[in-house]
């Protein structure tokens, strides 16, 4: 019975925590510019992250090591340092986009410009991490994140042609604006497949002392949790496709996001979008800052964990502090959150192989996983999708830069 509750909580927090500015913005932009045509990108990204999260959980449960532990132990210092530097760099940009997302929501709610909110948001995020236990806030914020289900309610109320939506899941070539199409596809992949997610998930599995009896729970949480999360992204895409696309409106400003629900739900729709954005992005801010701090702490052998008090582990706590405030600088100097999102998502896609391929090596290492190494399907799916994402990113990023200048 307890196990069922654990699974339920795991799924709920995965679903509630799935959407953040990356998935919301990229799905909205895709729907607005290309209708249902890019639904396949969301599906591909969701499948990949579901596999990766399941692998992360399985790795932790069987080997009793987090992914970061194993990256250092198996590959040594030079590799671990390269991986950490790349992940810190790219994830810091994602973190900046999330802080910007909370700022954007607050601007829409109050009218005060984003730079005004940069430090307060950083302070709130920092305060939650410094003064409370992670479990409570993580779960709390993720459960609040269920407000994003409003997008599904909205999408259903619009009565989309489900046949047409289904066709969007079949990969197709763009009829026009090819550079933008592929760049948007890449951004969606980068938004769905975030390396910090499976690093974080494996840390949680160790903290919760998972063992081999958790393998089925792990599979359930990964597939159902990520699956439903992807479903939320598709809902955003459908909304944008039905509201913006027919009028040839592209999503270029975050102020357009409330229009996803206000036509259908009226004024409450506006507040639902604002709340969804604020909560989802705050949750992502906390999670990314922690994931990065865990990566460094585990790799260097420091104390780490949910209930670590600043007095007990100054290095760990000061590290996430620096990350949160560094991320807020972008908003402080008025970098547009949507631009920040596009850049950080596409860079995430481009750098995927650096985190994913070594992780696959670990997932096939019998000395860690004994009988539970990957089956060939998992290896192929993940390798294919991440290499695809990276190749597409490397091609489309320069094209997009050239195209928009």
């Amino acid at each position: 019975m307890k196990r069922i509750l654990d699974i339920a909580l795991g799924i709920v927090t995965s679903v509630g925590g799935f959407l953040e500015i990356g998935s919301i913005a990229t799905a909205a932009q895709a729907g607005a510019s290309f209708g249902f045509q890019l639904a396949w990108a969301i599906a591909l990204g969701t499948v990949c992250i579901a596999f990766l999260v399941e692998m992360g959980g399985r790795f932790a449960a069987v080997s009793k090591h987090t992914i970061a532990d194993a990256m250092r132990e198996r590959f040594g210092v030079p590799f671990f340092t390269t991986l950490t530097v790349v992940m810190l760099g790219v994830s810091l940009l994602v973190l900046a986009a999330e802080v910007g997302g909370v700022g954007a929501a607050l601007k829409m709610a109050t009218g005060l410009p984003i730079p005004v909110w940069a430090i307060p948001v950083a302070l709130v995020a920092w305060g939650l991490l410094w003064y409370t236990t992670f479990g409570v806030i993580e779960n709390g914020v993720s459960i609040l994140g269920l407000v994003t289900v409003a997008f599904v309610v909205g999408a259903v109320k619009l009565h989309p042609n489900y046949g047409e939506v289904a066709r969007g899941f079949i990969p197709s070539l763009p009829k026009e604006d090819a550079a933008k199409y592929w760049f948007t596809a890449v951004s969606i992949l980068g938004a769905s497949i975030s390396p910090y997610l499976f690093f974080f998930y494996s840390s949680g599995a160790i903290e919760d002392k998972w063992d081999e009896t958790y393998l089925w729970s792990n599979r359930a949480i990964a597939t159902i949790g990520m699956g439903f999360g992807g479903f939320l992204s598709v809902a955003v895409l459908v909304l944008a496709a039905m509201i913006f696309h027919p009028h040839n409106i592209d999503v270029e400003h975050y102020q357009q996001l409330p229009e996803l629900l206000s036509p259908i739900l009226g004024r409450p729709g506006f507040w639902l979008v604002v709340a969804s954005l604020a909560i989802a992005c705050l949750g992502a801010t906390l999670e990314i800052a922690l994931a990065l701090a865990y990566l460094v702490a585990q790799g260097l052998g420091w104390t780490w964990g949910e209930n670590v008090k600043p007095r007990q582990d100054a290095r760990f706590c000061l590290l996430y502090t620096v990350l949160v405030f560094a991320a807020s600088i972008f908003s402080l100097v008025s970098v547009d959150p949507l631009k920040m999102t596009q850049i950080s998502m596409s860079l995430t896609a481009a750098s995927l192989p650096i985190g994913v391929l070594p992780f696959l090596v670990l997932m096939n290492d019998k000395s860690y996983l004994h009988d539970h190494t990957n089956r060939i399907a998992g290896n192929i799916v993940v390798m294919f999708i991440s290499l695809l994402a990276s190749v597409l990113a490397i091609i489309s990023i320069p094209l997009q830069i050239v195209g928009s200048s």
Partner: protein, 113 residues
Amino acid sequence: MKILEVHVERLLGRKVIDSEGRTVGRIEEMRAEVVDGELAVTEFHLGSAALLERVGSVVIQLPLFRLFGSTKPARSVPWNLVDLSDPRHPRLRGRLDEIGTPISRSDRPSRPS
């Protein structure tokens, strides 16, 4: 008597050359056993791939990577045949064809947990 110290992590990946200048392999692993009450290095495992020396064996086991893996087996060399007086240039005492025992890839150490 001066005590010469070498660091394991600095030896890792270094090429071992034999008396005729041929490459025997790169130091991938060092096996240690208790000898006369002390833990001491008894064998050096030399592998072939340069960049992949710590990734190597597992990468080769991955289905797709079999295409890229080298087919040269790892060799196990007893400690007395390796001259570490210049740690940057480890030398084999003797010739390549005089030594050893290739070790099979399935002989991988098990990770303590």
